[in-house]
């Protein structure tokens, strides 16, 4: 739908620019999570047989999975704190047109 109104500016002031990049980060976060949590698929396992490399130790696996988890949660929290904590919902309308 073409709007007869003025076209949006091509470049934004720094605050708006920063905000949009943070929104990008928010969108990419689950993709990063998928990638990181997909990593265990490539670890050697017991099922690979005796000739395969030593399987990953369970303690390391636990540490890895939980560290990624904590990292994602902290990132999500930080992004929320910066982007939404002090804003009302009505303001997120304009984020549609990033």
């Amino acid at each position: 739908m073409s709007d007869a109104g003025a076209s949006p500016p091509v470049f934004l002031e720094q605050r708006g620019y920063r905000r949009r990049r943070l929104m990008d980060a928010l969108r990419l976060l689950p993709i990063a999570g998928i990638a990181l949590w997909l990593l265990p698929v490539f670890w050697p396992t017991v099922a690979d047989g005796p000739d395969a490399p030593e399987p990953m130790a369970m303690s390391s696996a636990i540490v890895y999975v939980f560290v990624v988890w904590i990292g994602l949660i902290m990132a999500a929290f930080a992004l929320w704190a910066v982007l939404f904590a002090r804003r009302d919902t009505s303001a997120d309308q304009d984020d549609e047109a990033l």
Partner: protein, 893 residues
């Protein structure tokens, strides 16, 4: 040692405590003091119904059997929450905008408020969730049986215990969930009770975990060592399961009816979702933090063959921690009850809105007034649905033997509800998704799930024969339930998930691509997909025949008398109408439909309103037809407008013509009076002088001659006048015959000057540039000469300068020729200039020689010849320009 009776007492006390909290919360909400009930914290905690008894007991058992695989069940939802911006935000916004009461309602609303689709989704949800409810019954009875074993005096009959648990849960749900019919389908009391239960189960699991790590294993580092040394100490993971289960849990998190209930229906504020996006993963992380340690310690401490699903209970018991075990039991009890309550509520809403109510409404007969209190019917049908659903769960528990591992039962259920996901996501992101596509996708996916996942779960020979397992359905080897299309070697769960979702999505997309959606579907599709652009409803009602009173009666039956009255009063006040009955405007009907949707679902609300509005209910098809009609009318009116414009143009022209005719008539009268005057003057003098000649005797020869020459002169003047008139009339009527010849301009001028000078006084000094006049013309040379003679004669007659001078110039401009006759006489006054080419226009009154027809004739001649004559006044004289037609000059050149 705690006896079962004590445990039951504790459980009952706990339930009464929950009920009290729920009751107080609902009272607070009714008094408008319920702000704290709807905080982000409560919202996040209510999401924890995702963690059921399966999580509480089953995760540990799962870990004891398959190591870290259990965690995939939490990774999927964590990813969905962290990626809330992608799907959840839209889902919640749509759910709120459309007042969706359940997954079935959402899907039916998206695909044109189709009740058929709602029924299919409802049945699938009931079938899919039943194993899950059975799972909760199983976990509660199992946990109870653990406490009964050591006593030994009265071994617990698990089936009977299961029945009583089911019965208790049903009562609990009926009391909690259907105390009133909320317009928004929100349950403040239930939500707060769930939040409390969420805290209880988290604390219980954390307490057991902390006890195991620091109390039994002796700290974090020894625990890690013990984990690595345990049977599950090495990474042993079916890779396809890791991926498939993560994806499945993410899908189920979005599609589970109970998750939809707490996440979308009970959502008060979209900001809560933002907070839950990081807070709920924290909860999930905490819930899974101690699972592996508990499993490892359980495997170490408990005798071989003990059920790993109950390590959460048996480990503290074995260590003599009865209090901790009781807390743990309460945690498991909380997980089971909260899940059963919400799942049953969600399902009963679906069953009652999409199955019972439509049937009941149909039984009422079309167009009949809705009789009786619908509110009671709705609540009754919900209660019956709750009993039926829990009953089904109990039957499944009873006939599945209660033997299968908790995790396996949970996964089957997940795979079943995940079949909604393609249709849901397709519905909110793809406008091309259609009802038949959705129906095809759901049916295909569900059939594959039943065949590959649900039926095999009962074991070979139970429902599906052993032969079917080995050689496939009807002996077709590519229809083996765990190796469809001959692809064997896949994990059965992964196999079922991959095939069901793939075939589901394929059928959904392909049928959608080929089916043209109905108008309502297209409208709803646009509303769903573009929910962030506009959150308005599709217009659908023509309220002309719906009376406000009928509407009020119906609304009272569904929303309750006071609520309905409040609603109508508010609308009446908004419309500025006295009393409590507002005008049934389309806008109000739409609002009403949405209010009713909150109570009975989109399809039923639509049906109820249409029942009242009766034949006047405007379906979107009708609207489209009306739109077509109005387009035709518009076109017709455009045509009319064009015609009317044409008519007014014609009228204008006629008026103009009339004015012209009137002017002409005036002109004609003037002309006639002028002409009679012109004719009378010479006639008078001729008559008088001829009378003198006839009647007077003794006239001298000189006098006779004088009078006769006067008569002669007047007769000549008369003749000339008549000649001119005749000439003009011929020219004006276009009857003139032009005699085209070729000659030079110079010769034409020469002839004209000679003729003019012969008849005039000859005092005029004529100046020419002969060089310019060497132009050959093809035109009526005689007529052109006549024009020139006229102009030169005029100059002779009227130029009153002391030394009259006429300059004749020939100009060539772009091939056109202009002959300019400029004299040095008195300029014609500006007021008279417009009239000089008119008939009988004479500048000065003392002119007796001319009749004032000369210039009029010149203009007519030039018009006939295709040129024109114009006048240009200047400060030192007058100039007449004769423009000769271009082709006249060119043809000659």
């Amino acid at each position: 040692m705690t006896s079962v009776n004590q445990l039951i007492g504790v459980s009952l006390g706990y339930v009464i405590f929950l009920f009290a909290i729920a009751y107080l919360a609902e009272r607070a909400a009714q008094r408008g003091k319920g702000g704290w009930l709807r905080s982000p914290l409560v919202y996040t905690l209510s999401l924890s119904i995702y963690c059921t008894a399966w999580t509480f007991y089953g995760a540990v058992g799962y870990a004891a059997r398959s190591g870290m695989e259990f965690v995939t069940i939490y990774l999927g939802p964590s990813l969905v929450m962290i990626g809330w911006w992608w799907a959840l935000r839209k889902l919640v916004r749509i759910g709120r905008a459309q007042r969706a009461t359940s997954v079935a309602d959402l899907i039916s609303a998206r695909y044109g408020k189709s009740n058929l689709l709602a029924i299919v989704v409802t049945i699938m949800a009931v079938i899919g969730v039943t194993p899950y409810i059975a799972l909760q019954l199983q976990s509660v009875t199992l946990s109870l049986s653990i406490f009964s074993e050591p006593g030994g005096d009265a071994p617990l009959n698990q089936l009977i215990a299961g029945f009583w648990v089911a019965f208790g849960l049903a009562i609990f749900t009926v009391l909690f969930g259907t105390r009133n019919l909320n317009a928004n389908e929100r349950h403040d009391g239930v939500v707060i009770a769930i939040a409390v239960e969420a805290v209880v189960k988290l604390i219980a699991l954390l307490a057991v975990g902390i006890f195991v790590v620091w109390g039994v294993a002796g700290g974090l580092a020894p625990m890690m060592e013990q984990i690595d040394a345990s049977p599950i100490g090495a990474w042993d993971m079916d890779r396809s399961r890791w991926v498939a289960l993560t994806a499945l849990s993410a899908a189920a998190f979005l599609a589970l009816p109970r998750m939809f209930q707490v996440m979308v229906v009970e959502n008060e504020d979209e900001r809560h979702l933002q907070i839950a996006s990081w807070a709920f993963p924290v909860y999930l992380l905490l819930m899974s933090l101690f699972v592996v340690p508990i499993a490892v310690v359980g495997l170490d401490l408990m005798p071989a063959g003990s059920n790993p699903d109950l390590f959460v209970l048996t480990v503290p018991l074995a260590q003599g921690q009865v209090g901790l075990a009781t807390l743990s039991f309460l945690g498991g009890f909380s997980s089971a009850t909260s899940m059963v309550i919400v799942a049953t509520l969600a399902l009963s809403t679906m069953v009652s809105n999409h199955v019972v109510m439509p049937v009941w409404l149909n039984l009422q007969g079309p167009g009949a007034q809705v009789s009786g209190d619908v509110r009671n019917v709705v609540i009754l049908s919900r209660r019956a649905s709750i009993l039926m659903i829990i009953g089904l769960g109990y039957l499944y528990y009873r006939f599945s033997g209660g033997g299968s591992a908790l995790a396996a039962m949970g996964l089957i259920s997940f795979a079943g509800v995940a079949q909604f996901l393609p249709v849901m996501m397709g519905g909110i992101f793809w406008r091309g998704a259609t009802r038949w596509g959705a129906l095809a996708g759901l049916c295909v996916g569900f059939s594959v799930w039943v065949f590959c996942s649900l039926l095999p779960s009962f074991g070979p020979g139970a429902v599906l024969s052993v032969a079917t397992f080995d050689t496939g359905l009807f002996g077709l080897s590519w229809l083996r339930p765990q190796a469809l299309f001959g692809i064997s070697g896949l994990d059965p769960t992964v196999h079922a998930i991959v095939w069901s979702i793939t075939l589901n999505t394929t059928a959904f997309v392909i049928v959608s691509l080929f089916i043209f959606p109905g108008p309502l579907e297209r409208l709803q599709g646009a509303q769903f997909v573009n929910v962030f652009d506009h959150s308005t409803q599709a217009r659908g009602w023509d309220a002309a025949l719906a009376t406000s009173e009928d509407l009020l009666i119906m609304t009272q039956r569904i929303l309750g008398a006071t609520e309905a009255l409040d609603l109508f009063r508010a609308e009446a006040a908004r419309q500025g109408v006295q009393g409590h009955l507002p005008e049934p405007t389309p806008g109000f009907l739409q609002q009403l439909e949405r209010e009713l949707t909150g109570s009975v679902g989109a399809a039923t609300a639509h049906a109820m309103i249409s029942q009242l509005v009766g034949g006047a209910s405007v379906s979107v098809q009708d609207l489209m037809a009306v739109a077509d009609e109005s387009a035709q009318i518009l076109e017709y009116s455009n045509q009319l407008e064009a015609k009317s414009a044409e008519l007014s143009r014609t009228a204008g022209k006629l008026r103009e013509a009339n004015a012209k005719l009137t002017a002409l008539s005036v002109q004609k009268d003037a002309f006639l009076s002028q002409i009679s005057h012109e004719l009378r003057t010479p006639m008078t003098s001729i008559r008088s002088f001829s009378e003198i000649l006839r009647d007077t005797d003794g006239l001298g020869q000189v006098e006779k001659t004088k009078y006769a020459s006067i008569i002669h002169g007047e007769a000549i003047r008369l003749t000339r006048l008549l000649d001119d008139l005749l000439d003009l009339s011929v020219l004006e009527n276009g009857q003139v015959n032009l005699n085209f010849e070729t000659g030079t301009l110079s010769s034409v001028l020469e002839k004209a000057i000679l003729t003019a000078q012969a008849s005039g006084t000859g005092a005029l000094d004529i100046r020419r540039r002969h060089l310019d006049e060497a132009v050959t013309l093809t035109t009526d040379l005689d007529r052109l000469t006549q024009v020139f003679i006229n102009l030169i004669t005029n100059a002779q007659k009227y130029c009153q300068a002391e030394q009259p001078r006429l300059v004749i110039e020939v100009r060539q401009e772009d091939g056109a020729i202009a002959v300019v006759f400029s004299d040095n006489g008195m300029p014609i006054p500006p007021a008279a200039r417009a009239l000089i080419f008119e008939k009988f226009a004479r500048i000065s009154d003392n002119d007796e020689a001319g009749a004032g027809l000369g210039l009029a004739i010149c203009r007519e001649i030039m018009t006939r010849l295709g040129g024109e004559i114009s006048f240009l006044g200047g400060p030192s004289g007058n100039a007449f320009t004769v423009h000769l037609p271009t082709q006249a000059a060119l043809a000659a050149q």
